[in-house]
Each structure stands twice: as structure tokens, then as C-alpha cells.
Amino acid sequence: MLKIENLSVIFGEKSVLKNLTWSVLPNKIHGLIGLNGSGKTTLLNCIYGFLKFDSGNILLNERALNRSDVSFLETTNFFYSNLTGREFLSIFSSSNQSFHENEWSLLLDLPIDEMIENYSTGMKKKLALLSILKLERQVVILDEPFNGLDIETNHLLEKLIPILKQKGKTIIITSHIMGSLNGICDEIHWINDGVIKKSFEKVEFSDIESLIFENSSVSESLQRLL
């Protein structure tokens, strides 16, 4: 189990994560939602180790989480220039013998022997996804994985994530589109003002939007402006 205890991150004067405590159960797909500036990306960056936290602990199965336990699909993907997709994938050494680049590239319709510079946004996302699949780590973080994907790959990703769950991975997904999370997540966690405000079970998913926007006056403002 991934356990986050009293995690705090302060940027200058601003406290972004405030003693955040969160238990992420294994073999489940966890959605993470929150409005802009709620601390979502900061939390993910802390879990992977991109960011140093000011206080708290992140534990995996009662020991300190290492970077080598986590694979992270970032929202925007950067690739080293003058490499082909296959050459990029070869950077990631893996003990995963069942990973076959050719079969994956066929399935995802990805020209892995072409230069990455010529890839579309969706293709780049697919390549980044393949790299984290190749690493085969215990905790998989997918930050906005559906951004820029075509309908077919979107569908494929929705099929792929539950298979990762079956293989015992702990999966954390963020998305701005509630619909894409509702379909695949076992739990959705709402982060607000630097803390996990509430965790929702599958049966409660329909209440999420109304709860998040309960105090929102957007409709009235829109009525007034239009």
C-alpha cells in the first residue's frame, strides 16, 4: 500500500500541500481530481520524486518509496531530438521480458522507426506510455493520460489500465474530464486546498461534480453576463 503521511510543500510564502495524508490501496485504480492550483501536480511530483517535500513521509509497503518504484507519464512529454521511437524506448532498461516493442507499435499504430520529431501529439503520448509500460514498476502515475489521444487509443487506454490493475499495480490517474475517470476508476479522490478533502467509492461517483461545485456561482454569473 502507498501511504502518504502529513505531506507538506511550501513554495515561498504559499503552502501548497498542507499535512496531506492519503492511503492508496494496491490493485485499485485511483482517480485524482481537483481544481487548478489545488495541489494535484505538486502531489504527483512529490510521489515520483521530482519535488522535494518540506515534511512528511511517503511509504510503499511500510518502507520509504524509491523513485525506482514509480513510473510517471507526464502531462506534456519531451523527447530528445534526433532519435527514433525505438531508440527512445531502448533507453529504458527493463527486466520485463514480455514487453515486445514491435507488437505494441502495431497495436498502437505507432511508427517506432520514424524520427520522433515527425510524430503527432497523440503519437508522442503513445510513445511515452510505452516507455512507462516497459519499465513495469509497482506504482504507475498517469497525469492527464487522455490528453491528445485519438478515439481508438483512448479506447485502448481504457482497456489497458484495468489490465495493469489486474497485474497488481497501484495506479493513480488525473484527468480534467470526469467521464473518462468515472468509467475506469475504483476510487476517486478530491484534492482541495492542499489536502485530500474526500474519497469517493464507485457508487458515489455521480455526486462528485455537484459536491465540488456546490458553492460555485458560475451559473448565476453566466446568466448575468450573457
Binding site: 520524486g49 521530482f50 522535494k52 524509491n66 523513485r67 525506482s68 513510473s71 510517471f72 507526464e74 512529454n77 519531451f78 523527447f79 530528445y80 531530438s81 534526433n82 532519435l83 531508440e87 527512445f88 531502448s90 533507453i91 529504458f92 532498461s93 520514424e114 524520427m115 520529431e117 515527425n118 519499465l135
Partner: protein
């Protein structure tokens, strides 16, 4: 830009002035001022260049795979030149030094933070492994040329060994310069200036120690800079 080139080449120009090579100085200065008007960059998107020299490159050394794709023609020309000159004169060994400067171009681009950190948890372990892998790669590539010169001119080893030490040091400096200035996903331009200084160090004995000093300074600075990203 021309003026900057002129300042950088002062250690070459001053001895030329002392030797009274006035015509050469004028031609040299004109070429320096014309240099910025030429665009030497190649738009890789418009070409699909096969990486003919990718065999034998360790898959972790992505800088070499990408760099060889860009610079393979210059590399082959210089390498061949090194062999051809080697049949006539021992000083052809200098071409290995020039080839080393081609490799400096490999370290102008910074990888993403995920690629930087996915394999190792500690800054020192990362940097030592990086240097080991790349020095091994450099040795593999330069070995045929080295053996050729050592076999053809065995009596000149006194001349070759210090040069070889400088080439290796220059190569390490290029790698360390990348990591001392590392910012994820950015290009580093300072490598060209460092390469220029190291280049002059090859020909001017009083500039020899530059690379050695830079090696120590840059290693320390790389560790400090990378700690921002590794937190260890």
C-alpha cells in the same frame, strides 16, 4: 558575433602577429566576421537520415545515437582523414582531437527530468555511471585510430600519450558542462565556448591545463546542480 570570435581567437592571433603573418591575420579576421552569416544547422525534419554508425553504441548513450545521426558525415570524413594522413605523418594523430570536438555537439541538449532520474536515485552514482558509459563509448570509437597510430609510429608514444590525456579530459569536460548547466528539456550553448577554449588548449601549450582545471570545477558544479533534480 564576429567580434566575440575575434576575442576568443586572440591567443592564436597574437602569436601570428609576433611572427609577422599579416596577410594570414587579415584573411583569418575576414573569415571570422563572415562566419556568423553561414547557417551550418541541418533541419532533421526534412531529412530521414539513417544512422549508419549506430551499431556498437550502447543503447543508454542516447546522446551518441542522436549525435552520430547528426554528425556522421563529418565524423567519417575526419576519421578517414586521420587514417590517410597517418600513412604519411605521425601528426595526423591530431585528427582524433578534432573528432573529440565533434562529440562536444552531442552534449548540447538536456534530456527530460524523467529520463535523467529514472535509473539512479543518487546524483553521484548517476554522474559516475554516465561518465563510465560515455568514456567507454569514446574509447570504443577511437580505439582503431589509436591502435593504428601506436603501431605505425611506436616511437612517438611520448608525443601521443599526453595528447590522448588531453583528448579524454576535453571529452569529460563536455559531458560535465552539460550537467553543470542542466535544465530539463533545454539546449546548452555554453558547450561551444568550452569546446573553443579546449580546442586552443590543444595547440597552445600554455592553455593545456585549462581542461584539467575545468574537469574538477565542473564535476563539483554538476553535483550541486543535479542535486536540485535528484534531491540526493
Amino acid at each position: 558575433m564576429g567580434l566575440e570570435y575575434l576575442c576568443l581567437t586572440l591567443p592564436v592571433l597574437i602569436p601570428m602577429l609576433v611572427l609577422g603573418l599579416y596577410l594570414e591575420i587579415i584573411l583569418f579576421c575576414i573569415s571570422l566576421f563572415l562566419l556568423p552569416f553561414f547557417n551550418f544547422s541541418l533541419n532533421i525534419n526534412t531529412f530521414k537520415i539513417p544512422n549508419l554508425l549506430s551499431f556498437g553504441i550502447d543503447r543508454h548513450n542516447f546522446e551518441w545515437i542522436a549525435g552520430m545521426r547528426r554528425m556522421q558525415f563529418a565524423f567519417v570524413i575526419l576519421y578517414s582523414l586521420g587514417i590517410v594522413i597517418g600513412f604519411y605523418h605521425f601528426a595526423g594523430f591530431i585528427t582524433l582531437g578534432l573528432i573529440t570536438f565533434i562529440f562536444s555537439v552531442f552534449y548540447e541538449e538536456c534530456e527530460s527530468q524523467f529520463v535523467l532520474t529514472f535509473e539512479f536515485d543518487s546524483t553521484k552514482v548517476f554522474l559516475i555511471n554516465k561518465l563510465k558509459r560515455h568514456i567507454l563509448q569514446y574509447t570504443k570509437v577511437s580505439l582503431p585510430l589509436l591502435l593504428f597510430y601506436f603501431m605505425r609510429y611506436p616511437e612517438k608514444y611520448i608525443f601521443y600519450l599526453p595528447l590522448l590525456l588531453i583528448y579524454y579530459t576535453n571529452f569529460i569536460v563536455f559531458i560535465l558542462n552539460k550537467y553543470k548547466s542542466y535544465i530539463p528539456n533545454q539546449k546548452i550553448t555554453s558547450n561551444r565556448i568550452i569546446a573553443g577554449l579546449a580546442f586552443m588548449g590543444m595547440f597552445l601549450p600554455y592553455l593545456f591545463p585549462i581542461s584539467f582545471v575545468l574537469c574538477f570545477i565542473f564535476y563539483r558544479k554538476s553535483i550541486i546542480n543535479l542535486k536540485t533534480y535528484f534531491h540526493a
